[in-house]
Symmetry: C2
Subunit: 454 residues, 2 copies
Amino acid sequence: MPGSDEERMQALRALRDTGIDSPARAAGVLGEIHPADAAEWLQDLDDGDAWHVFVELDTGFQAEILEFADEGLINDLAARMSAGDLRSLVEELPSDDAVDLLAEADERVAEDVLDSIPVEDALVLRELSAYPPDTAGGVMKTEFVNIQRGTRVGDAVKEVKKEGEEAEDILGVFILDEEQNPVGFLSDRSLLTHSIHDLVEDVMVEPFTIDANADQEEAANQIQKYSLSALGVVGPDGALVGVISAEDAAEILEEEAREDIQRLVGTTAKQQTRLPVLVRTRQRMPLMAVTVLGGLVSAKILSYFLGGDETGGDASILRYLPLIIGLAGNVGIQSSTILVRGFATGEVEPEREGAVLLSELTVGTLVGLICGGVTIFIASWMEAGTWIDLFGVAVGTAIAVAVSWAAFLGCAVPVSCRRLGIDPAIVAGPALITLSDISGSLIYILVARQLVGF
Amino acid sequence: MPGSDEERMQALRALRDTGIDSPARAAGVLGEIHPADAAEWLQDLDDGDAWHVFVELDTGFQAEILEFADEGLINDLAARMSAGDLRSLVEELPSDDAVDLLAEADERVAEDVLDSIPVEDALVLRELSAYPPDTAGGVMKTEFVNIQRGTRVGDAVKEVKKEGEEAEDILGVFILDEEQNPVGFLSDRSLLTHSIHDLVEDVMVEPFTIDANADQEEAANQIQKYSLSALGVVGPDGALVGVISAEDAAEILEEEAREDIQRLVGTTAKQQTRLPVLVRTRQRMPLMAVTVLGGLVSAKILSYFLGGDETGGDASILRYLPLIIGLAGNVGIQSSTILVRGFATGEVEPEREGAVLLSELTVGTLVGLICGGVTIFIASWMEAGTWIDLFGVAVGTAIAVAVSWAAFLGCAVPVSCRRLGIDPAIVAGPALITLSDISGSLIYILVARQLVGF
C-alpha cells in the first residue's frame, strides 16, 4: 500500500483513470486519506463505481465522507442504500447531515429507518426535516451543549467533556434560563481561560440568536459579520432549538455565492464541472431559449422599421445580429465564469484542467449546434414562410460557429490568464465579451456572404 | 441615551441622515453597539465625519472597530492619524490588523511608530509587512499559542490561560518539535475534553500547514475544504511563523468571491455600493472603453463587407448595433450583479435600498452620457470625417438612452424580484440581458429614424 498522502492520491487518480477493477482495494487506499479528499475523489467517479467503493468502507469513515460530500454524491449514494445501511449512517451522523441523507434516500426506506431508530431520535429528525432546507432551522444542528444559569465554569467544562464529542462542531456553550431561552454564550476559549470557580453569568457574553424560520443566508451573514463561533437558533417561544456553527456558515456562504454567480450567467447552482456534459447542456437550455426568443423579437422589430431585403438593402441581414452575438456572448461568459470560479474555489484543480476544458467546450459546441439548428427552421419560417430557406440556414450556421468559437474563447482566455499570472476575472468578463461580439459579427457576415451572397 | 440596540441603531441612522453636529454625542451612542455595526455605520459617513466621531472613542473600541472595518474606512482613518494615535492602536491590534493599518497610514508616520515601539514588536511587524498582502504570510497572525512535544494537556491549558487573550482568534494550539516545526494540533475543544494528564502527542491530530508565500486563496480554500479551525503557516525551513484562523479564511473567501464577480462584470473589487458615485463611474471606464472600441471595430468590419449607406441600404445603420447593445448589456448586468450580491451578503440592507438604487442609476446614466458623448465624435469622424455629423449624433444619443435604460432595468429587475420573493439571480442575468438587447435595438432604430430619417 502506498506510503504518503500524495502517493495515495496519485494511486487513486490512476485508479479513477484506468477504471476500478477491485472496489475493495480502492476502498483500502481511500480509507487512509482525509475524508474531504475521499469525498472529492468519489464525486468524480461514475455513480455505480462510487457506490461499489463506498460500501467497502467502514461505517465511521462512510459517515465522515458524507459530512464532506456535495449534494450530488449524497444523492447518488443515498438512492442505493438499504434500510440497514441508512440506519447505521443516520445513527453515526450529526443531526443536520442525517436529515440531508434521509431527504435524498428513497422515501419508503427513510420511513422504515425513522420507525426503527429510538423514538426520541426519530422525533428530532422529523422535527428538523419539517424546516425548509434553506432556513436556519433547516441547517442547524441539535447536538449542542447547554448550561443552566448559576453553573460554575468548572461544571460547564465537565458538561463539555461529557457531551462534547457528540457536539464537536459547536465550539462553545449556550447558557439558558429556566424557559430554555439563551441568555449567554461562552466559547471554548473562554472556558479554558476563565477560572473554574467563576459563575458562568459573570463571564458569559451576549448570545446571538436567529429565528428558526429565517433564511439560512441571513444566519450565515450574521455569523460572518460578527465573527461568531456559533449562532443560536430559537423557536417561536424564544427557546433554543438548535445551533449553527461557523463552519456551516462558511459552507452556506460559498454555496450561495456560487448559486448567485452561476444563475446570473444562466446555468444552475450545482458544481458545473462535476456534472455530465448532457446534463449541463440541458440545464443551459432555458436561458438559451430566452436568448433565442429575445433575438428573434429584436429581428422582428428591426425588420418592421427597416423593411426586409427589399427596402433595407443588403445590410438588412444585420437584423439577426443581436441574436447571434447575444447567444455567443452568453455561452462565452458561462464558460469563463465557471472556469474563473472553479480556479478560485479549487473546484478545478490543475490535474482536472484538461478534462474540464474538454467538457466545457463540448457543452458550448452542443449548445451552439442545438440553438443553430433550431434557429434555421424558425428564421426560415419567419423570413420565407418555409421550414428551410438559404437565409435561415445562414443565420443558424453562423450561430453554431459563433457560439462554439465563443465557448473556445471562454475556456482559452481564463486558462491563458492563469498561465500568464494575470487575474482571469479581469480579462474573462468584459474583454471576452467584446472579443466574442467582434468575432460573432465577422463570422455572421462571412457565412451570410457565402450562403446568401451580396 | 437610547436603551436597546435597535434604538441605538435608529438614533445613529437618524444622526447620519441629519448630519453630525456633535461627534462626542454620536461616539457616546456608537460605543454602546457592536464594533461590527459601528464599523458599518462609520463606513457610510463622509470621511471627515467618520474621523471626527472615531477620535472621540476610546482606543480599545477604536481597535475593535478597525478589526471589523473594510479597507476603505481603514484607509480614510489611517490617513488622518498622528503618530500617537497610530502607536496606541498598533499596540492594541493583533499583528495582521496592525500591519494593515500601518500600510494605509502615511509612510513617514508609520516609520516613526515602528521606531518608537519595542524593537521585537517592530521586527515582527516589519517581517509581516514584507509578505505580499495576498499571500498566506500577508494574512497570518503571529499571536498563537505553541506547545513543545512532551507537554501534558493540563500544561497546554495553562499556556492557553496565560497567552490565550493575546491569541484569541486561533482556537487551538500547535505542537512543535525542537526545530519549531509543527508536528500536531489540538483544538480548544480537545483541550477541554481530554484528561489534563494526557501527553499532547497522544491526543493531537496531524497539523495542516501552508507555505508563507502561497496564495491567500489557497490557504482559505484549504481551511474551508478540511473544516480547519486553524492553518499553520511555515517558513522556508518548515518552522511555524504564523497561523491563519477560520475567521480570516471566511473573510478571504468572501472578498475573493466579490472580487471575481465584480471583475467579471467589469467593475473593481471594492464594495461598490459604499463608494461615491464619481469614483464608481470612473472605475467602470476601462471596461467601457474596451466595449466602445470593440463596438467600433465591429462597425468597421460590417461596413467593410456591406458598404456604407450607399450600397448597404437603410439597414446599414445596424452596423452600430453591436456597440449599442453591448454597452447597454454591460451596464445592465453591472447594476444587477451589484444589487444581487449586495442583497445576498447583506451589503445592501433594506434601509439602504433607496439610496443604493439612486446612486446605481446615477452611475449608469453618467456612464451612458459619457460613452454616448464620446461616441458622437468618434462615429461622426468615422462616418463623415467631421467631428459632428447627424448620424454620429444618432448613435451617441441612442447609446446614452439605451445605457441609462439598461441601468434602470438592472436596478428594477432585482428589486422587483426580491419584492415578489423570486431569486433575483435567476432573472437578473439572462432575462435582463435579453430585455436590454431588445430595448436597445428598439431605442436605436427609433432615435436613428428621428434624426437621420429613412
